[in-house]
């Protein structure tokens, strides 16, 4: 190829780039629904990789997945957990308006509500034995969903998990796109 060829094609590219990149407005994508379904499916699947503090619960005690604040899942979450178990424990979904330290939840998706933002919900649950899950906002829970390379993945804050008394298995840590390691010695990432 000649250099004129390079110039010709490069110029075409620049014009195309200019046309589309500037002067036009953007819009949201319609990929939300699949991503939301995947997040719903993730929620209870975190359970086998987490050890909660305290004595082991009764073998058939319900395992509670909670949504705190404005529920983004609707019936999807109920369908996702339908018939599923954590060990022998049946999974139940609870929807709560606000977070409280003693709420009966093992896993809590913090969506933020009118009274409490995600940050307030996190503050309310700090130190509580609840696996907090957030959706990529400014305030991140122990697990924070993120879109990475076109997939729904998550970041893990293992330091906060340690403060909450939770132990997260290395398998789950290895799936995370990034990990904030725990400072205390003990479990190895």
């Amino acid at each position: 190829m000649t250099w004129t060829g390079v110039v010709r094609v490069a110029a075409t590219g620049l014009v195309l780039f200019g046309l589309v990149r500037f002067g036009l407005t953007s819009s949201a994508r319609a990929q939300e629904s699949l991503a939301t379904d995947i997040k719903a499916a993730y929620l209870y699947k975190f359970a086998p990789f987490v050890v909660w503090p305290g004595p082991p619960p009764a073998a058939d005690a319900p395992f509670a997945v909670c949504v705190v604040g404005a529920d983004p899942f609707g019936s999807v979450l109920d369908r996702a957990v339908a018939g599923q178990k954590v060990g022998a424990r049946p999974i139940i979904v609870r929807r709560l308006a606000a977070a409280a330290r003693d709420m009966p939840c093992q896993i809590a998706f913090l969506a933020g509500g009118r009274g409490q933002g995600v940050k307030d919900e996190l503050a309310a649950l700090h130190g509580a034995p609840v696996l907090t899950v957030t959706d990529g906002g400014a305030a991140a829970g122990v697990v924070d969903f993120a879109i990475a390379q076109g997939r729904v993945r998550f970041r893990i804050d293992d330091e906060t998990a340690a403060e909450d008394g939770l132990t997260i298995s290395s398998k789950l840590l290895s799936l995370a796109v990034s990990v904030r390691p725990r400072k205390t010695s003990g479990a190895t990432p």
Partner: protein, 662 residues
């Protein structure tokens, strides 16, 4: 070159074969001497796991692998891609027991994988295996490893012996049958193979992988770690030795080979919206060649990629790589070196609610340097090949369920200049569980140094030169297909095509007299057929995948063509292929997989149909230790996958593998 028992490109016997073939046998006979021959995923079947009930059955690893937006050129879920696409997942790869890329590619029902020696393979989609003795090579498939093109610009084929990725590190392989020229560029004529490796954050910890069996041994060591919150890495080293295959009569074929390889990948996420990847590999190997000095292969690559997510969810990707590869035989039988520098930019953008644009461009500079053998040389012996392109594609939502995708690529190649490669696709998703699509597209196989600059001699006589007027081989393809999730357990995909080819490569006499012969574009014709595959989850622990391909080919010479070597030189392709795979998760962490495949007879040169079976039993003793035993081609002591004039036979083999994680 790309095929035929691993012989070097410059093998003098190959020249003899063609010389004899084109009936200059008086000369060829003296020079020739003796002839050669002594010597199982959810995303595939249907519209994908779009319902939460389907997601429920997936493991957390599988959830993490679902594309909600395709990484590459198209910003939509893979399950919505309006093309004949099959995805080989990481899990499929591990469960197949295969440890080399070509063997892994046997998992794609829309490919034809043919082993011709211990180290060489012919891999095609929709036919055109070529004919090495006619110097008509397998050259209509584009292969990318993490966006790095690995077909050689020398003749547009792929040297499969130097393409390797540790199976553990492969995230998935997207196999698209049908043209992808608009997005991927020239050479994506009959298909695109897109090999995508795992980010290093997903391959943390140590792994020792030791395998040994009747056909070879392999050792791999890998370690992945983190530096701070934002940076993860892995390094690997592996080495394997593959023992010889056998001749058609079962005698030992002298084609054993070995290759050590090492590499790394580093992933850095400096901000929430930026990610940067550095990766590289290096290899060096040796291949025995019957009656000739060993061929050596060596090379490496280094690549960097920056991805930036815009606020609206679209993304910008900038990628650059350098790839270097050497191949040759000592003692004056020739060698060549190829250096490639490549830069690609791609961006996506939604100007309004109904349009989604993907656009970009790329520059590639390759320098080849060839020390030819006396009988085969290139004029000039070294040269820069400059390739540039720009493309744009718009996805227009006519209605919420109907999309029109229009794309255009302009590509400037060093020999034929500017090519226009358009593509038009229609995608209709009447319900969530079904996708119907249709497409019309144009693709070319652009000229290469082998088509234009080659000079072949017998003694002092030049009997073949590259055609100064050799033009691109062209394809206009008409395709349509459907992907349907019939029930949560049953899904299928079917794709039909009608391909109209023109200007296919032929051998023509000199304008005055007969020699030197030269390449021409005097063949045309069409192919049509379909590829179908389906998946049935019999129980949560048992999955069946079945496939069937049909390919009909009608080629003819154009008026005035020499007709030398016949239309069979374009390829010796099976009309049908079928496969049945079974994947079982048994108690005690035992997995059992079996893969039965049928390939129909080859027409010319003729070869009978064959049926073969691969099987693997794996035992995950615990998180740290995994044992497996695989058997390949179990039904026959050995079988031919290509005519004996061009291939050795593939023996039955077993392989035991131990993986230790720490």
């Amino acid at each position: 070159m790309g095929s035929g028992r691993g012989r070097g490109f410059f093998s003098p016997r190959r020249l003899c074969a063609i010389a004899a073939g084109v009936v200059i046998s008086g000369l060829a006979g003296a020079a020739c001497g003796q002839d050669q021959p002594t010597g199982p995923a959810a995303a595939n079947g249907g519209a994908g796991p779009s319902r939460v009930e389907d997601l429920r059955d997936l493991s957390i690893d599988q959830l993490a692998q679902i594309q909600v937006t395709s990484v590459a050129k198209s910003p939509e879920p893979l399950s919505d891609a309006p093309a004949a696409i099959y995805v080989i997942t990481h899990d499929d790869i591990i469960r197949s027991g295969a440890i080399s890329l070509p063997e892994i590619l046997r998992l794609a029902p829309n490919l034809d994988v043919v082993q011709t020696s211990a180290s060489s393979y012919i891999i095609t989609a929709r036919g055109f295996s070529g004919d090495a003795t006619a110097q008509n090579f397998t050259n209509k498939l584009l292969v990318l490893i993490d966006g790095r093109s690995v077909y050689t610009p020398l003749y547009s084929g792929v040297y499969w012996d130097v393409q390797d990725v540790p199976p553990e590190d492969i995230e998935r392989i997207e196999v698209i049958s049908g043209p992808g020229a608009t997005l991927w560029g020239a050479n994506a004529v009959n298909g695109v193979i897109n090999i995508i490796t795992r980010p290093s954050s997903q391959t943390q910890g140590g792994l020792i992988d030791v395998a040994g069996g009747s056909l070879g041994t392999s050792v791999g060591v890998q370690y992945g770690g983190r530096i701070g919150d934002d940076l993860s890495y892995r390094v690997y080293a592996k080495s394997f030795t593959e023992y010889h295959t056998v001749t058609a009569s079962g005698a030992r074929a002298d084609d054993a080979w070995s290759k050590p390889q090492g590499g790394f990948r580093l992933d850095w996420t400096p901000t929430a919206v930026d990610s940067v990847t550095f990766q590289g590999d290096a290899y060096s190997g040796e291949e025995a060649q019957a009656g000739e000095p060993d061929q050596y292969i060596s090379g490496g690559d280094i690549e960097t990629r920056w991805t930036h997510a815009w606020q609206d969810g679209s993304s910008l990707q900038v990628q650059a790589y350098y790839d270097q590869t050497d191949r040759g035989t000592p003692e004056g039988n020739g060698h060549f070196t190829l250096d490639t520098y490549d830069l690609d930019v791609q961006d996506s953008f939604a100007p309004d609610a109904r349009n989604e644009l993907v656009f970009g461009g790329g520059l590639r500079f390759s320098r080849y340097s060839i020390a030819g053998a006396a009988a085969l040389l290139f004029a000039p012996p070294s040269r820069w090949l400059d390739l540039s392109n720009a493309f744009v594609q718009d996805t227009f939502s006519v209605t919420p369920t109907l999309k029109l995708i229009a794309g255009l690529k302009l590509e400037d190649d060093p020999y034929s200049g500017l090519s226009v490669l358009p593509d038009l696709r229609l995608s209709w998703k009447p319900i969530d569980q079904a996708l119907l699509w249709a497409a019309v597209s144009r693709a070319i196989r652009s000229p290469t140094p082998f088509d234009r600059d080659v000079v072949e001699k017998i003694g002092p006589i030049v009997y073949l030169i590259g055609g100064p007027d050799f033009q691109p081989e062209t394809l206009t393809a008409y395709e349509s297909g459907a992907r349907v999730q019939v029930t949560p357990r049953l899904s299928f995909s079917i794709s039909g095509y009608y391909n109209a080819y023109d200007d296919l490569k032929t051998i023509e006499p000199a304008p005055s007299g007969f020699i030197p012969l030269r390449w021409g574009n005097m063949m045309r014709g069409d192919t049509y057929g379909f590829e179908a595959w389906g998946e049935y989850r019999v129980t949560p622990w048992w999955r069946l995948v079945a496939s069937f391909d049909d390919l009909e080919k009608r080629l003819s010479f154009k008026p005035g063509a020499s007709g030398l070597l016949g239309v069979a030189q374009a390829g010796d392709d099976p009309e049908h292929q079928a496969s049945l795979k079974s994947s079982m998760d048994l108690p005690h962490n035992i997995t059992l997989d079996a893969d039965l495949r049928y390939v129909s007879a080859l027409p010319d040169p003729a070869l009978p149909a064959y049926v073969e079976l691969n099987s693997r039993i794996g035992w995950n003793i615990n998180d740290h230790v995994q044992l497996s035993l695989s058997g390949f081609n179990l039904l026959h002591a050995h079988h031919l996958e290509f005519p004996a004039s061009e291939a050795n036979a593939v023996p039955r083999s077993v392989l035991a593998e131990l993986r230790l994680r720490f």
